[in-house]
């Protein structure tokens, strides 16, 4: 095969004027500029979207709470004094040492709620992260290459979807026993399916677009097309879905904890705290109510943030 020389005006340059390092710096500066531009746009959009802004702020608040728990919590979340059993919140009849009162074994509620955010967020984020990675990788491969693997995975995901989420998680937890790791396993066991289906569907749609064919004509391999061309186009929907799933995971974790299928009784978990206060609902309502409010506010905030992200990043998804 002959190559023409007339157009070879684009032959490789000899050593450039700049060193390799300088060039890398230059390129990174450009990339940073693009990223900063996107960031500025994103922040502007969030600020212009009240519910996303509120949700995001509340989420940040809880995350900060989880990280700074040892410094924020006024008391130990593990030890209680029998003298302060079922102590009422400060503004009712208690004292300002236990602002939100105490539970049935005299542990400070505020401290337990602050520490409880750790479990909710760690379990939620890890489970979502795990589901995201597994679901996305499988979805990318299945959607792009289709064939038998796609058939098997899709039928399996259909099968998993036939079970209600919570019942499935209860089943898994009952089988493998309590514990943080087991909780994450139980939640991600089915959690990847949503990501798988989203990614697979979007890959199927994206791969017929002309830019994919153009990439092939530029000599890119299948994997390169999948990761460098298609994945960035799915990314916004993935971020949205991940946020929305996070809210769901947090609620499910709380439900499992409520049913006593979460972690051991000593570790503060919002769900088990709600359960522990059930018996005192009439006499000491605060024992259940405050952890319940914590679950609700975090889940609501995450959902609001997720819906806001959807409006901003991926208007297409609104239709669903």
């Amino acid at each position: 095969m002959e190559f023409r020389s007339s157009t070879d005006s684009l032959v490789m340059e000899q050593d450039g004027v700049y060193s390799w390092l300088e060039n890398q710096r230059y390129l990174w500066r450009i990339r940073w500029g693009l990223f900063a531009g996107k960031l500025r746009w994103f922040v502007g959009e969030i600020i212009g979207h009240p519910s996303a802004l509120t949700g995001g702020m509340v989420m940040l608040l809880y995350i900060a709470m989880a990280i700074l728990a040892p410094y924020l919590a006024p008391m130990s979340p593990y030890d209680g004094a029998l003298t302060s059993r079922l102590l009422a919140p400060a503004w009712i009849s208690g004292n300002w040492q236990h602002v939100l009162g105490c539970d049935g074994v005299g542990r400070d509620l505020l401290s337990r709620i602050i520490y409880g955010s750790r479990l909710s967020l760690v379990v939620g984020l890890t489970a979502v992260g795990f589901s995201l990675v597994v679901g996305t990788s499988l979805g990318l491969v299945a959607g792009y290459f289709q064939g038998r693997l796609d058939n098997v995975l899709s039928r399996f995901s259909d099968l998993l979807l036939a079970f209600p989420y919570l019942i499935f998680a209860i089943f898994v937890m009952a089988a493998i026993g309590p514990g943080i790791t087991n909780l994450i396993v139980a939640l991600s066991f089915k959690g990847w399916v949503e990501f798988y289906r989203l990614v697979r569907g979007q890959v199927l749609a994206e791969k017929t677009k002309e830019y994919v064919e153009a990439a092939r004509l530029s000599g890119q391999s299948d994997w390169s097309i999948l990761l460098r061309e298609i994945l960035p186009n799915i990314q916004p929907s993935l971020i949205v879905l991940a946020t929305l799933r996070l809210a769901h995971m947090i609620v499910t974790e709380a439900s499992l904890s409520f049913l006593g299928l979460g972690v051991g009784p000593r570790i503060p978990a919002w769900g088990s705290m709600v359960n522990a206060g059930r018996d005192y609902m009439l006499s000491a309502w605060w024992v259940s109510t405050f952890p319940g409010l914590a679950i609700m506010s975090l889940a609501l905030a995450t959902n609001m943030f997720g819906e806001g992200l959807r409006d901003i990043l991926d208007p297409r998804l609104k239709i669903e």
Binding site: M1, L10, M12, I30, E213, S218, G219, E229, N233
Partner: protein
């Protein structure tokens, strides 16, 4: 160096619609075969522009994509500079794509919305040769300048450009591989007329500058007449007429060509010549008519032979290739 750059012989591209076993049993559905390209022979000469015209669904886009290797032919072969394309692709796909590129129709779908122009152009440049970073940047800028853009456009995303500018980027990306043959699939049909003229001029200039060969697929006959040296008319997966553009436009031989050209709207002072209105529309390529696939709409049938025998593409006295049973035209 032979005159022919691309030779297509007996090319067929069929798409199978496979139904699952259950739908077959329950609904009685059958596997179907779309005969998008159904036996096509032609040659493209070096440094010419061959126009490919036809109505939607006639298989012209499929044919273009098969030529650049995006689809594998069902039967027949394509040779490029004397070598079989399938073999070339198997041996070294990159070497093949360095010779053959494509410009797509939709300037909105053909550029990845999440990549900057720099990324879009760097990819093919690096596939073509090894560059140091500075060389890569300069090469990309040179490409942009060749298509009438400049260095300021390097770090922008596709949505920041107008349709015409996007089509320029698309052309730059194809040029990055320094191909000798470019398939242009309706490159201007999504653009406004004033911008369309800019792109047509650009394509013409680039052809002269880089000695390019084009296959220009279009449904806009006026554009084809302006730009193309020769023109091939496609109907239902087959080529019915192929010849020099002016000859074909002035004196169409195949009845379909005649009807197609007469329905083309004109801007002319003299009154419009008698229009041949075809009845009906293009039959489905799922189930093409027997014999000559144009016979159900044809106004110049010569007898039963039209329904029974498929006409071959034969050399006509004027040097044109025509597939029609009509004689002494």
């Amino acid at each position: 160096m032979s005159k022919t750059l691309v030779a297509v012989t007996g090319l067929k591209k069929h798409f199978l619609i496979q139904r699952s076993l259950i739908t077959k049993l329950v609904a009685g559905a059958k596997d179907q075969r779309i005969r998008a390209v159904d036996g096509v022979d032609f040659e493209i000469h070096r440094q010419e522009t061959l126009g490919l015209v036809g109505e939607s669904g006639c298989g012209k886009t499929t044919l273009g994509r098969t030529l650049v290797g995006l689809y594998e032919p069902t039967a027949g072969s394509v040779t490029f500079a004397g070598q079989n394309v399938e073999e070339l692709k198997r041996k070294d796909p990159l070497a093949f794509y360095r010779q053959v590129q494509m410009v797509f129709q939709n300037p909105y779908a053909s550029l990845n919305p999440r990549k900057t122009v720099r990324d879009i152009l760097s990819q093919p440049l690096q596939a073509r040769a090894r560059y140091n970073p500075k060389g890569l940047e300069e090469a990309a800028i040179r490409l942009l300048e060749q298509v009438g853009l400049n260095a300021h456009h390097m770090d922008r995303y596709p949505h920041q450009f107008s349709g015409g500018q996007r089509q320029r980027i698309s052309i730059a990306r194809a040029l990055a591989m320094q191909p000798s043959f470019i398939v242009c699939d309706e490159p201007v049909s999504a653009l406004d007329v004033s911008v369309q003229a800019q792109i047509l001029n650009l394509l013409r200039d680039l052809q002269i500058r880089f000695q390019l060969t084009y296959l220009f697929i279009s449904h806009d006959l006026s554009v084809v007449r302006y730009l193309c040296d020769r023109v091939a008319v496609m109907y239902l997966g087959k080529i019915v007429e192929i010849g020099d553009t002016e000859d074909v436009f002035n004196q169409p031989i195949h009845p379909y060509t005649e009807a197609l050209l007469s329905s083309m709207p004109q801007i002319k002072r003299e009154p419009v010549r008698q229009r041949i209105l075809l009845s009906g529309s293009v039959p489905s390529p799922l189930n093409p008519p027997s014999g000559c696939s144009f016979h159900p709409r044809c106004f110049a049938q010569v007898g039963k032979i039209c329904q029974q025998k498929e006409p071959e593409l034969k050399q006509h006295a004027s040097g044109r290739l025509v597939a029609c049973h009509r004689r002494n035209l």
